[in-house]
Amino acid sequence: MDDLGPGEEEDEDYIDEEEEEEEEEADAVRSGKAGGRKRQRSEFIDDSAAEDSEEEEDDDDEDDEDYGGGGGGRRGGGGGGHRKKKKTASQFFDEEAQVDSDEDEDEEQGEDDFIVDGGADLPDEEDARRMHRRPLLPREEDQEDVEELERTIQQRYARSSHTEYDEETTDVEQQALLPSVRDPKLWMVKCAIGHEREVAVCLMQKCIDKGSELNIRSVIALDHLKNYIYIEADKEAHVREACKGMRNIYASSKILIVPIKEMTDVLSVESKAIDLSRDTWIRMKTGNYKGDLAKVVDVDNVRQRVTVKLIPRIDLQALANKLEGREVPKKKTFNPPPRFMNVDEAREMHIRVERRRDQMTGDYFENINGMMFKDGFLYKNVSMKSISAQNIQPSFDELEKFRQPNENGDGDVASLSTLFANRKKGHFMKGDRVIIVKGDLKNLKGTVEKVEEDTVHIKPKARGLPSTLAVNEKELCKYFEPGNHVKVVSGATEGATGMVLTVEGHLVNIVSDTTKEVLRVFSDNVVESSEVTSGITRIGDYELHDLVLLDNYSFGVIIRVESEAFQVLKGVPDRPEVALVRLREIKCKIEKKIFAQDRVKNAIAVKDVVKILEGSCKGKQGPVEHIYRGILFIYDRHHLEHAGFICAKSQACVLVGARANGDRNGDLVSRFSQLRSPARVPQSPGKPRGLQMSSGRNRGGRGGHDALIGTPIKIRKGPFKGYKGRVVDVKGQTVRVEMDVSMRILTGKFYRLSRPFYVHGYPISASITSFALCAVDREHLSDNVNVSTPYRDSSRYGSGSETPMHPSRTPLHPYMTPMRDPGATPIHDGMRTPMRDRAWNPYTPMSPARDPWEDANPASWGSSPQYQPGSPPSRTYDAPTPGGNYSEAGTPRDSSPAYVNAPSPYLPSTPGGQPPMTPSSAYLPGTPGGQPMTPGSGGLDIMSPVVGGDSEGPWFLPDILVNVRRSVEETAIGVVREVLPDGSCRVALGSSGNGETVTSLPNEIEIVVPRKSDKIKIMGGAHRGATGKLIGVDGIDGIVKVDDTLDVKILDMAILAKLAQP
């Protein structure tokens, strides 16, 4: 279908001739959209070739090839050289409006009816041919025949007339041409792949043969649409009828109607805005050179071919083998890297090199096996279709390579100009500093005053020049001065910011803000900016510095995000291996928190500072950012490569304590808090209770897991009862356990797990107990029973405190020790003197001393006496405090989340009546106690040293019912009468408090967990001290009716204590 446009009188003239043409042309569909005009071509039109749009020209070229035989004679006649005459379709086309046909070959005899009314007799081919050659004049004759038609058309498209032919149509007119419901529809018909054109031609033939019987109006085959053709007809039945008996049409398949809105798209073509010219940079789309940059050296518009200059990717050895007739192994797997052709080398390999002179250009080329080389470049003649010329942004490196062989500056300027061709509109803006790069005024600097189209008015800096100069945009280049802060706005490093180091012509060197690398970019591609970014930091779900699992199960850290790919530092410890990875090659992000062991078997958690002891990065030190499969990714600020990331085996590293004592503590504690956050949470002061509560629900949080993962457990219930295993994952209330015996991984709930052993020195143990013990049968714990008291003492410090009691245990379970002690060591040794002597305990000095809690804490707050009364006994106090204080110093980021998430594990314990010795439960209530004292502590970072101190309030409140541990085995219920300033309590024994009064340390006391409808006292949060009634228990939350306000609150069970009956 050729054009459609408003009906023009001319059309009518040609109508006869044109109908057939349309069909032939079906393949070559053009949209006339832009022009809005139908173009008609008849043979005569040669003369008027100039009218054709460019697009048509393109088509013509193709057509020429296709129809070379028929049209050849005409070629070269018109201005376009290769234009054939075109015929326009008839009114028919007009209706279609959007398509130009380029076919010239056809017959000129269009029948009116065929076109307009839908049933036309097609003249036969011969006629058409004859007509084809007819001179321009005869059309007058035709005109009479179609007079009627003309009138119709004129009526319909009164606006248009052939006089308008070349004028631009307005949008409104264009709109009028769009298909409406009344117009014939387009049907999409499936046909044999590769036979689209053939089918179209066959249908046309059928039309010719059958004449009016065929009710279809046109057939369209699109080059880019395989497997389908479009048929224009009013009814589907017509289409079916037409397709009947056609060999390559799958008539049985569904015939789809093209929605009206999309009809225009079918017949539109993208405008080819860029015309190729010499020296344009292009990229190859296919073959070995796919994606390679090439430079156009010659364009043959007629044959649609271009000659491009490439850096050859030729394997000389393979070539030599081939030339010598040796068998070449057909391995297509690898693509030789681009490399300049060295003729001498080729000769050495006995490859025949001919030197030839190109007739056209007069240049000499080396000819090797039919390939042309010059100056090491490969000159290749390729079809225009195999190159892409749009949006080519050659990177600096690529251009650099192209420049290499001939190192004169000329080539440079040429490439500059082509670069400029890719500039976006509005490249320069008022106020930009520019420099003139070409012409007489070269190197003149100035600022942009005004921009109009291609001309930029600049205000030169030099004196003695007119106040403004008009300069062609192409002669200008942006200019920066060293020290300018700029942002890269296009190219490979798009988005990066940095400071300009040096300016070399149109290149600037900038030092990136984030990577401190030097980037070399075109000054065109940067703008001044004050923002600081590293460029884009994420693609899809993956962000800079994420640990990702790659396709082939390797993994690495994203160290740079480029426009379409990531640079990933692979997890290969020996040498830094960086891979460029595309989004789809990434399997997933690894977010698991895993522990590793350093050389001396200390547990390393994320954020711990380690020092590398071996390998190329020996001596480097920094916080661990990721851990995976025993590989650490360490971030060293001073390491300039790979965005500061170093990959090392955990075994090759050693955990670094901080320098100062305090620091060290902080470090420890923060680590500690991660390790055993669940246990700590209850005690941890300084976190608003609300946080804890809320976090209690997302027990799956990071802090929570860490403590459990890797913990040996025993299954208490269900088919696997009695099995032992290790926790591999924690999610919500469920854990996944790897069975020791079967290597299976099970999923179970917390309360089913029990810890088989308490091994001293494992900090996690405390946290485990907090949830596991309470749910565990006593016999599982039998080991511990006699220890209970000391155990309680130390509960916060991990069961390490047990050790003295059971020195034998360590040897008993030696396998556990290494795993656990790293974390544990620092923690318990402070408390238990005997432990200090242990050889493996490197941290002794820094563990908080038991009694003088001031020692462990900065004097600023430690010494203030006011706080002592409020604070619980030193022991309990020590651990949390540093956590609070040093979280800033040590691990600002992680320590707090750890607290936040931590509470979860202990929660389940609450509902069940705990065995008396459950130490953890004793402490739970305590924690909240501290809270009310620390409102606002979160915000007061400057005060942080104080926070720890003051958040540590009295843990217990008077009148609550507690279990007091009086000796190893014996516990007694009592009522807290008074909380002493040192945190210990005076407890009246007996459930109503009428027994003897004893003074107990908080760690000997545990709160009696209330049951439903018990009277309770709220131990923490905003309502601390209030009494109420527990009207329900929902998992970890208690539903409390507060006495005073009669409000119903949902509170963490951990902060509820049973009130003694008066």
Partner: protein, 177 residues
């Protein structure tokens, strides 16, 4: 460049510090909080030299903390473009070297190192002139000119050049030792 300026800050003090030595506490805390910090506007606060005025405290509801507006004199250090500084080289690599002038980190790119100095990799990477007479390596002291600064909330980063007259190494640890 160093400046001696007066700054103001609201200090929050915990009530437990109230007493005879409240002022001392306040000053001690001020020093702790302020010295060594960096602000984009004033640069690094090097030292507090005196407290001019402590305003009336305002008790915060709920916490008991008291906010005092404090005016203090301090010495600040802020690098400027074009300033000549002496700095100690902390790291040398093929892209250039990093030097520190007090708290300020300065990067001198190899583009901004005189062309006759070449990078020598090895155990002690350095830049050396062809005749070997001048060597820039870790711990060398160099005089450089700042050509650009970037000021973040917490640090100031500069790029500098030694490609100019009278710039370069002023004391070479290698030479003396």
């Amino acid at each position: 460049m160093f400046f001696h300026i007066v700054l103001e800050r609201n200090m929050q003090l915990h009530p437990r510090h109230f007493g005879r030595d409240l002022r001392d506490k306040l000053v001690a805390k001020l020093m702790k909080d302020v010295e060594g910090t960096c602000s984009g506007r004033h640069g690094f606060v090097v030292a507090i030299t005196g407290v001019e005025h402590v305003g009336k405290g305002l008790i915060r509801d709920g916490t008991g903390f008291v906010t005092f507006p404090v005016k203090y004199q301090c010495v600040v250090f802020r690098p400027f473009k074009g300033e000549i500084l002496e700095a100690v080289v902390t790291m040398v690599n093929k892209m250039g070297f990093f030097a520190e002038a007090g708290p300020v980190q300065i990067f001198v790119s190899n583009h901004l190192i005189p062309d006759d100095m070449e990078f020598q990799s090895g155990d002690m990477p350095n830049y050396t002139t062809s005749d070997g007479s001048v060597k820039i390596q870790k711990d060398s002291e160099v005089r450089l000119k700042i050509i650009g600064t970037r000021v973040d909330a917490t640090e100031i980063f500069c790029i500098g050049t030694i490609k100019d007259d009278f710039l370069g190494v002023i004391s070479d640890p290698g030479a003396t030792s």
